[in-house]
């Protein structure tokens, strides 16, 4: 049965290759440029192969987003466990991987959010954020306060990435936001 094992392994490797390639392509040229044809060409397989791994293009994006959740959680855990530290790590990550951030938090993906069924990696990120917010919750519901702070970070990130807010003052805006949530 070793042959079958090898096949399963090769198949898993190919699936990972598709995800990684999709991510690279999106990061380089945006998700609009990630077409099934271009993606298939890059992984050096024909188009229908993609559909033997994923239900469709959306499912590929979802897989990429899941990778992003795990990475983001790592970044947040590595950051100083303060409100400012975690906030900075969050926006830095979004700035560094805008297409990934797009897939995770802007595009429509078929994943549960804000429920116990949400991906564990997403919960991990949220937990780090929660711990950073905790010291500053003055009797407020900690979960809701964290959601609110997260939303504020998200707004800052998306408006800046989308060119609605000038990038050069981003640091000062982030500082203002953090200050308002401290204490």
């Amino acid at each position: 049965m070793s042959i079958q094992k090898r096949r399963e392994r090769e198949r898993a490797e190919r699936e990972q290759l598709i995800i990684t390639t999709a991510r690279e392509l999106a990061e380089a040229e945006g998700w609009e440029a990630v077409t099934t044809r271009r993606l298939a060409e890059r992984v050096e397989y024909s188009q229908p192969v993609l559909y033997s791994h994923f239900k469709g293009k959306d499912a590929i994006m979802t897989a990429v987003a899941l990778e992003g959740f795990a990475e983001l959680a790592e970044e947040l855990r590595a950051a100083p466990a303060t409100l400012a530290g975690v906030a900075r790590a969050y926006t830095d990550y979004a700035e560094r991987c805008p297409a990934l951030y797009d897939a995770m938090f802007r595009r429509h993906v078929d994943l549960p959010f804000a429920t116990p069924q949400a991906p564990p990696a997403l919960w991990a990120s949220f937990d780090v954020l929660t711990e950073a917010v905790r010291p500053h919750a003055r009797g407020e519901d900690l979960g809701l306060l964290t959601e609110t702070f997260w939303a504020a970070l998200h707004g800052l990130v998306t408006l800046t990435l989308g060119g609605r807010l000038p990038r050069d003052q981003h640091d000062r805006r982030l500082a203002l936001l953090v200050a308002r949530f401290e204490t």
Copy 2:
């Protein structure tokens, strides 16, 4: 020269019809459903007519967004001139016209933001927001603080509309945000 005037008027009316129809279609089924063919069919003209009014589909979306800016400014002006009042009016508008909000603040439109060249209607909204924030600026840069508050509102709105935050607690999150920016 009256004939020419009539033609110009009819042309302007048709242009408005295209904008209104695009808006209705987007609000009813989302922007993905707004294809040039469906839009042309609804306004009862052939597809190429759209291109005699607008450079492309994006330009139609931009025209719709501009309408939205004007409407939003009106709504904000009509709201109680407090931080809570304006914030509530902002999120209410987004909730009521999600597709319009999408075109205005989420999709890529070819408009200048956060510069003096930005659409006047957009500045009008921002000015109302600024006045609501002013009493709570404790020595901070008022423009930057307003941008930050706006970003936070935007984050709340987009995460909620995108299904990333449960709608039912929206009011409480909004109250938390406003409380953090008061004083």
